[in-house]
């Protein structure tokens, strides 16, 4: 077993996971805000933020799907040692992690049932950039409107149309995190980056 597998976890799990969770919760509650979280140093290609989210939320109760390059021995070993989460395919996972292209198609993930819409997957999307500009966001958690660099607009619009079913997204880049719950209405920014200029109902 390699040293990389054993290292890179939380040094003080109770405290660090609590602090990391607050970052993720604030991100989920206020779509469009970008926060930094830290604690984990996972093996490549996972970002620090993605690794921290996995350590904060995953355990033997949560099947995880490693998409694309994330599905390597180093990540498998690291995740198994630190969380004990079983690996699963996209249609059975509770969490999935990878880049946007590798996570697609989105139609295979669980979106919940009408009686239990919470039984849906949460996708951890590794992004090359994550900033509070780009597509326009509206919905719960957002006072008027906010903006976020999203990998694609149409997929999120389709996801929102499924409400109350649907997927929830945690976007990660480096040590920053943002979130797009299914309740957020995403639209193309109207040319200008000014957030007040978006035209969503």
């Amino acid at each position: 077993m390699q040293a990389e597998t054993l290292s890179g976890g939380f040094a003080d799990p109770a405290i660090q996971s609590a602090q990391a969770f607050r970052g993720v919760m604030e991100a989920m509650a206020r779509p469009g805000t970008v926060r930094s979280i830290s604690g984990a140093t996972p093996p490549a290609p996972l970002s620090g933020a993605a690794g921290t989210v996995l350590l904060t939320l995953c355990d033997p109760d949560t099947p995880v799907y490693l998409a694309g390059e994330a599905d390597c021995d180093a990540v498998r070993g690291w995740l198994a040692f630190h969380t004990g989460a079983p690996l699963a395919g996209p249609s059975h996972c509770m969490f999935a992690v990878g880049t946007w292209d590798q996570l697609n198609p989105l139609s295979v993930y669980k979106i919940g049932t009408p009686e239990y819409p919470d039984r849906s997957a949460t996708l951890i999307v590794e992004c090359t950039e994550l900033t509070g500009s780009g597509a326009c966001l509206k919905g719960p958690g957002i006072k008027t409107s906010s903006a976020l660099s999203v990998p694609e607009v149409q997929a999120f619009q389709h996801n929102t149309a499924l409400f109350p079913l649907g997927l929830d997204f945690i976007l990660t880049c480096g040590n920053t995190v943002a979130a797009l719950p299914r309740s957020t209405r995403v639209s193309e920014a109207d040319g200008a980056t000014e957030v007040s200029s978006c035209t969503l109902p």
């Binding site: 799990p13 109770a14 405290i15 996971s17 609590a18 602090q19 969770f21 607050r22 993720v24 919760m25 604030e26 989920m28 509650a29 206020r30 904060t56 939320l57 995953c58 355990d59 109760d61 949560t62 509770m94 049932t113 009408p114 009686e115 239990y116 819409p117 919470d118 849906s120 949460t122 919905g139 719960p140 958690g141 957002i142 006072k143 409400f163 109350p164 929830d168 719950p181 299914r182 309740s183």
Partner: protein, 287 residues
């Protein structure tokens, strides 16, 4: 403090609760089932709120607990002490100083900010429960958005009393989709639920449900065009601080029918008194 894991619960339990909170925030007003644990206090004493607080607290937080608005009742004092001992967090009674506020049946009078989180203790999370006892059926009713029964209940109030007599746990619609029980807060507090800057989390321990309202969520109290929702309170000023706008408790002060009305939010009342506001029964005459 070292005898316990941080904030009492074990890490796997906290992860389970945290996952439920995230799904709750993603589906505002929807009740997420969670595996509620036994807590070292009886059901009905806020075990749901305590578990939610335990899952979100960090060592940097300043924690406040209110019970019907009061910081100094048994329930509030014991939960505050519980987290002082098991999480080592700082505590306060000042609403504006707190980063996490656990509440039983009130929303503080002072508007909350984006830096704060309000955690509710919920006895019965299902607004349809007294109309339909079967969980399998209420699940279906939420799935199909079949809320006619709720309106029938309010209508029966009107036909019997001439107005909507439901005065607490008044049902609301969240973002035009889920009907939610705001916990037994007085309907006076209902208008504060919507468009609140703070995150609102609801925990029901015995009933094993967590739900949430993200900030600035649209929350509408159910009503009829000809009987619009009305946030009501006792028509008196506070006896101690003279506040006209706050929610009041009626207190019997003798055995001759004497009574007084005082702010249910003790921190709000004390601040007003400290600022020089005096009600009719304020000063040394007060009990």
């Amino acid at each position: 403090m070292t005898q316990y894991n941080f904030a009492y619960l074990d890490e796997q339990t906290k992860r389970m609760i945290r996952r439920a909170i995230l799904k709750g925030l993603a589906i505002p007003g929807y009740q997420v089932p969670f595996a509620s644990r036994e807590m070292p206090m009886p059901y009905g004493w806020g075990t749901g709120g305590v578990q939610v607080s335990a899952a979100i607290l960090t060592p940097e937080d300043r924690f406040k607990v209110i019970d019907q608005g009061a910081d100094d009742t048994t329930n509030a004092v014991s939960i505050r002490t519980f987290f002082e001992r098991t999480a080592g967090v700082a505590t306060t009674t000042a609403t504006s100083d707190a980063s996490v506020i656990q509440t039983r049946h009130r929303i503080p009078e002072e508007p909350l900010t984006e830096k704060q989180i309000l955690v509710y203790q919920v006895p019965i999370p299902e607004p349809l429960r007294f109309l339909e006892p079967r969980e399998s059926e209420t699940r279906k009713m939420h799935a199909l958005e079949e809320y006619g029964l709720m309106h029938v209940k309010l209508y029966e109030d009107i036909s019997r009393h001439g107005h909507i007599a439901t005065s607490y746990a008044y049902p609301v619609t969240v973002e035009g989709r889920f009907v939610m029980d705001p916990s037994p807060i007085p309907k006076f507090d209902n208008p504060k639920l919507g468009d609140m800057a703070a995150i609102q989390l609801f925990g029901a321990g015995r009933e094993q449900r967590i739900y949430a309202l993200p900030p600035y969520t649209k929350v509408v109290s159910l009503d009829f065009d000809d009987h619009p929702f009305e946030a009501s309170k006792a028509d008196h000023p506070c006896g101690l601080c003279g506040a006209e706008e706050s929610y009041l408790d009626e207190v019997i002060i003798d055995d001759a029918g004497g009574r007084m009305f005082v702010c249910s939010d003790t921190d709000y009342c004390e601040r007003r008194q400290a600022a020089g506001h005096v009600g009719k029964l304020g000063g040394k005459d007060a009990a």
